[in-house]
């Protein structure tokens, strides 16, 4: 994280990563997107966003709503539009 801040400071006159604009953050991240550090932070971010809320992230199921995942314990057909159509029209 400190090297990201150093990059931000060098590129944008004394700023830290969190204080620069989203566009500039994207530019800084693009520089390191192939690094192990980025891969780790990316995966942990996704884990926090899309795992069971009981683990401490995905508050109010915000990640699941972003995906369109509805966490029910059971479903009944039709599940999607193509099988609904199949049930209606046949093969």
């Amino acid at each position: 994280m400190s090297s990201l801040d150093a990059s931000a400071s060098a590129a944008f006159a004394g700023a830290t990563f969190v204080t620069v604009s989203p566009e500039r953050q994207d530019a800084l991240l693009t520089d390191i997107e192939s690094s192990d550090f980025f891969a780790t932070v990316r995966f942990l971010t996704l884990a926090g966003m899309f795992s069971l809320p009981e683990h401490g992230g995905n508050r109010d199921e915000i990640g699941w709503r972003l995906l369109g995942f509805e966490p029910r314990h059971g479903w009944q057909p039709p599940f999607g539009s193509y099988d609904a159509d199949y049930a209606e029209r046949g093969e």
């Binding site: 966003m49 069971l52 314990h73």
Partner: protein, 553 residues
């Protein structure tokens, strides 16, 4: 006769190592026949109520499938010339719990067909491989396939090119999902014969168990309503109810001891407290899967068996087969919601045996799936277009369309048996018990890779016919380095110089040692081995029981 629980110093009729697809069936069959049975299982005895819809725990953190982070590192290399490296994801994947991988698998239950048992005779030898006929035929196994259908509980309907069956399925096919409809309509458009995928999941109440509730958490998870027909909920309770069978869970076997006559005498294991125990037995049945069965035999080397128990042929651990795969994802205009219900509802078997004129050996099936087993974290992590962004605003905008509007068609294909593809003991890495780690040496045969490409190409045509608006996918062009199909490593055969067990699963070298699981397979089949492993287990139980009653063990 003594009843369970048994004393370790009093020999029981059978110790069974492993309680999965094969071990669970052998436990039920042998205990029902009246034999005393101790099952030693390294994982815990979880119950359906213990299973959770927790992708972080079950998929991202080794849940039922232990690996490096739980003290069970495995190493991998492509060839003997390399030094195997510890892999982050266990190259040989399987579940550690009573019921084994039958508790967490996708429950696809395809039978093998006549040709699978006699392809060497049909096609001739394939240079550089151990391609061989089985010592048994489809007709020998058919009654036991039917036994699996009816005793385990299978949903399906006979397909247009199915092999002969003596009885229909006990349960109607599962309801079709949208990926299945897309595959079926595209397949018919191209002149193929798609049909409902047979699965070990109940579509209706059966033998006291309820039907599937379509929760969508099958692959990698246990079924909390007992609708998945694992041995955990089908065979193990029946075995325990006989009073002749004791399940010792949380117990890790270290070796099989032999006596002065060269017979298996006892099974040594660490119990749930880590204390070493040894259970005496009149016979030992190893059902520890295609990875752990050869490993245990190699660990059981002795002065009399210097290259490992039952390994005079040198075939223990060789001929490892995975099954190949192809994977293609399509985006569709309307909601697919592939995350609901079971993994696969339609399959195409029109390419069961590829034309030899293509210049390579192979065959398989294509089934309909979710892109990422319906898992939210997986979909966000790797479910999107392979050439698309994997972070940023454009990535975020694709999350929902990919999760809700995609379907995949997956090819499942043959693997050839090769002497160079092996499970061995790693000389440099140990597990938490101090045992040499499982070392995998594996590289797909060129024909296997050509077969995967063939299935990818047909799947791409199907995606186009299905009306996909954007398509991506891959095959493992550099060769596979991980699998959950662990096959062929103690192959069955009549010739003791070329195989490990005979047609009754008895080790050629040790008269009271039997091996039955994926390791027994001579060829790989077309990508879904569990049905055949289960049928072999029912058949083995008949043969082993008869031999015991005749005093021939």
């Amino acid at each position: 006769m003594a009843r369970a629980p048994f004393q370790t110093r009093e020999p029981v009729d059978f110790v069974i190592v492993g309680s999965g697809a094969a071990g669970g069936i052998l436990a039920k069959e042998l205990s029902t026949q009246g034999f005393s049975v101790v099952v030693v299982e390294q994982g815990p005895h979880l119950k359906p109520a213990d299973f959770e819809h927790d992708e972080w725990a079950y998929i991202a953190n080794e849940g039922l499938a232990w690996g490096r982070r739980k003290g069970h590192p495995q190493t991998f290399r492509k060839s003997e010339s390399e030094i195997a490296q510890v892999a982050d994801t266990a190259p040989l994947g399987y579940a550690h719990n009573v019921g084994g991988s039958s508790a967490h698998f996708s429950a696809n239950l395809w039978r093998f067909r006549e040709r699978d048992f006699m392809e060497r005779s049909l096609l001739g030898p394939i240079a550089g491989t151990n391609f061989a006929d089985w010592p048994i035929s489809y007709a020998d196994l058919e009654p036991y396939y039917t036994k699996v259908d009816w005793e385990i509980g299978v949903s399906g309907v006979a397909g247009p090119t199915d092999p002969p069956r003596s009885r229909g399925y006990p349960c109607a096919p599962m309801p079709v999902k949208s990926p299945g409809v897309l595959l079926e309509r595209a397949g018919k458009q191209l002149g193929y014969s798609p049909y409902p995928a047979p699965v070990a999941i109940l579509s209706q109440p059966y033998m006291g168990r309820p039907p599937c509730v379509h929760c969508g958490f099958c692959l990698g998870f246990g079924c909390e309503v007992s609708a998945k027909s694992s041995t955990l909920v089908t065979m193990i309770p029946l075995a325990e109810a006989t009073g002749n069978c004791e399940i010792r869970s949380g117990c890790t076997v270290s070796r099989i001891e032999t006596d002065a006559a060269g017979r298996a005498s006892e099974v040594v294991y660490w119990d749930v407290d880590g204390t070493e125990q040894a259970q005496r037995a009149r016979a030992v049945v190893v059902c520890a899967n295609g990875a752990e069965t050869p490993r245990l035999l190699l660990l059981s080397e002795s002065g009399r068996f210097p290259d490992g128990l039952a390994n005079s042929s040198g075939m223990v651990g060789r001929n490892l087969m995975f099954n190949g795969w192809s994977w293609i994802v399509g985006m569709f205009p309307e909601p697919v919601h592939a995350y609901k219900s079971i993994p696969s509802t339609r399959v195409i078997h029109d390419f069961y045996a590829l034309d030899p004129a293509l210049g390579f050996y192979g065959g398989g099936g294509i089934d309909s799936r979710s892109a990422t087993d319906g898992m939210p974290l997986a979909s966000a992590d790797w479910g999107g277009p392979l050439d698309g962004p994997n972070w940023g605003a454009e990535y975020k905008a694709l999350l929902k369309p990919v999760f809700t509007h995609s379907a995949s068609f997956v090819g499942h294909t043959t693997s050839l048996p090769l002497s160079s593809n092996t499970v061995t003991l790693d000389p440099n890495v140990e597990d938490r018990w101090g045992r040499p780690a499982l070392r995998t040496t594996y590289m797909d045969h060129p024909d296997d890779l050509a077969t995967m490409q063939f299935f990818y190409d047909r799947s791409a045509e199907l995606m186009e016919a299905a009306g996909a608006t954007r398509v991506w996918g891959e095959i493992p062009t550099e060769g596979q380095d991980v699998s959950v199909h662990l096959l062929g490593t103690c192959r069955m055969g009549d010739n003791a110089e070329e195989s490990v067990v005979d047609r009754s699963h008895r080790a050629h070298d040790v008269p009271n040692l039997f091996l039955c699981d994926g390791s027994s397979l001579v060829t790989s089949g077309r990508g879904q081995p569990t049905m055949t492993i289960m049928a072999l287990a029912f058949r083995a139980a008949d043969h082993i029981g008869e031999a015991a009653r005749r005093g021939e063990i």
